[in-house]
Amino acid sequence: MELKDLYEGFRNPQTIKSFASEIAKEAESLAEPLRVMEVCGGHTHTIMKYGLLQILPKNIKFVHGPGCPVCIMPKERIDHAISLAKMDNTILCTLGDMIRVPGSYSSLALERAKGADIRALYSPLDVIKISKENSNKNVIFFAIGFETTTPMTAAVIDYVVKNRISNVYFHINHVLVPPAVRAIMNPRKAKINAFIGPSHVSVITGSKIYEPLSDEYKTPIVVSGFEPVDVMEAILLLVKQKNVGKAEVEIEYKRSVTRDGNIKAQELIEKYLEVRGHFRWRGIGDIPESALKLKNEYSYLDAEILFKDRLSNEEIDDHKQCICGTILQGLAYPQDCKVFAKVCTPSNPLGSCMVSDEGACNAYYRYGSIDNE
């Protein structure tokens, strides 16, 4: 079997076209336009890459959610990463786009060019290897991501604790999906009336975490895979729920997601991490109980505590012209922003949504939506 055998069916043009025509038929009965938020940046990427918007009826609109771990990182925390990386005798490890995002005065990429030892990891477990090869240095893992990447961080912590590795520290920035959805829905201005639930987050958490949300906001939520066929099927399920007046959690991504999720991963996370009181989200602001931190008994591994003298928590907001917060609530689209693609570009992002590949403005900038021009 080849890798393509695994995904080809989920990208089959005929299947996608069949879904498109069935959705078009069902959508005729919609009482109001479907304004569906795909919470996760991975879905934004799929929608833009495959141009799904163009093959869907006009009364189905996407609102691109806050589910990009790099985009939601406030500048003061990016500054933390930079300050940690600049310390003597230190290797700072992190994931993906975090390297590129500008903080208030620099970026990890710039600091790396100036000589700081900063590693973009492919797997968090590489932290262990790096720490062994550099036993005379402090290795700090700047951990980012939603529930998807948290178990890997927990696995690294587990290894470090059990093997008494003395040169690894953690700066935890793991965030949670449900509180972010609440923060977007609570102003009640938000025009979202359906959700596509995240794929890989749900593999870990299970779909049960969305049940209180669909009840509270009377909004259907369909957990979808990342492939275009998945997204099309999820849309069809959402439209069907709307048409019969249902607001339930459904799983489209059945090949990986269950109601209860990955219990072992959840246990590992609970062993080492706990919910923190407050976390500021770039573009949205403070959301109570929306992120994790190391439990007190592991504070000896917590870079945020150990190096707190070097880390300022003064809030640094985005440029006044930036309307990311409004975009995230579905009240505006990237092209409604005055600075979009003019002053604000992926190489010089003024706000969160332009920062990473998975941010809404970045996806619009990169793939454009040819129909939206």
Partner: protein, 341 residues
């Protein structure tokens, strides 16, 4: 500068910092390695500069090679340093003739590895018929470079004039000489931290023979470009901008091998962003497209017509998907970083 300017000593089978010019051992390096493998009349004259005779307009280019790892499936830093520079000449319609070659070597570098690299360069030179006619070697203290860097400059005689990224016009057809992204995917998969095993091979190769064949069939491409760093996406975006045209691609026509696609799936990359070292893109008149494809297919079964020039969005590259939708193909970002989730 001498044609091969040496200031190095070979001891205990590794390259050492110079103990002073003209040492017996450094002459040995010139004679046993560079003169032996690169041997030609002009080089062996050993003058301060090579005297060259050229009859037509000259194309002139330079490139530095720093690839890591230095040996990879399908090539090595030496092979790339020859193929890369001769390809740049070929893409301008010039037959590669003469190259210069500068080595910057880290103290302690293995002599055997250096010989392997030089041998590989000599082998690759045969594919275009170009000659190395002058050179220079510097050995620098440990840590000043990463193992070995090579610079090659080259000149070639322009056989077909006016091939330029400014020349694309309405209804031109875009072709690619083989499947894309093999080099980028190979280098990525050989990086130690990924621990991937695969059968991927770099596409690293000299392209002059293919280009010559195209010319011999009286086909004059509007533009040609080897899709090196930045891949297909970079070439086409530069063309769309400089020629002020829209390039429309058919997504399912772009040839990508399964293993390359696999690497992209795992890490969230696009094959159109991956570097190639022996793959080129051509823009030809519509009436020449079929014949050009036939010629390219003699060298790779994966050669393909991938798109055409239109007026849809001037200065942009558009990909039409198999789903009936379309999107822009943007310039790749500088550093390829894997997606997080």
């Amino acid at each position: 500068m001498r044609t091969i300017d040496m200031g190095v000593l070979i001891m205990s089978n590794s390259v050492q910092l110079s103990q002073g010019g003209g040492a017996k051992e450094s002459n040995a390096l010139v004679n046993d390695l560079f003169y032996k493998y690169f041997s030609n009349e002009i080089l062996l004259k050993s003058e301060d500069a090579a005297i060259l005779q050229v009859n037509k307009n000259i194309a002139f280019t330079t490139d530095s090679y720093t690839v890591n790892p230095i040996f990879f499936k399908g090539g090595d830093i030496g092979k790339i340093s020859i193929a890369g520079t001769t390809n740049d000449l070929s893409m301008m319609g010039a037959k590669p003739l003469y190259l210069s070659c500068g080595f910057i070597i880290e103290e302690g570098f293995s002599y055997d590895d250096l010989e392997k690299i030089v041998k590989s360069m000599a082998g690759e030179l045969k594919n275009s018929g170009a000659k190395i006619v002058c050179g220079d070697t510097k050995v620098v203290p440990r840590g000043s470079v990463d193992k070995i860097f090579i610079n090659t400059s080259g000149i070639g005689e322009v056989e077909v004039e006016n091939i330029s990224s400014h020349n694309l016009v309405q209804d031109d057809v875009i072709l690619v000489s083989r499947d894309i992204g093999a080099h980028g995917a190979t280098i990525l998969s050989e990086r130690e931290e990924l621990s991937i095993t695969s059968d991927l091979h770099s596409d690293c190769a000299s392209l002059w023979s293919i280009v010559e064949k195209v010319f011999k069939n009286n086909i004059t491409p509007s533009a040609m470009r080897d899709a090196t760093r930045g891949g297909l996406a970079a070439v086409l975006n530069e063309w769309a901008e400089t020629s002020n045209v829209c390039i429309e691609l058919q997504e399912d026509a772009i040839p990508v091998e399964n293993e390359v696609r696999g690497i992209c799936e795992i890490f969230g990359f696009e094959p159109t962003d991956f570097a190639n070292e022996g793959t080129f893109v051509l823009s030809v008149k519509e009436c020449d497209a079929k014949k050009t494809l036939e010629i390219l297919k003699e060298y790779s079964k994966n050669a393909a017509i991938i798109g055409k020039i239109s007026k849809k969005r001037v200065g942009k590259v558009i990909i039409n998907t198999v789903y009936g939708s379309s999107r822009y193909l943007d310039m790749p970002k500088g550093e390829l970083l894997p997606r997080i989730c």
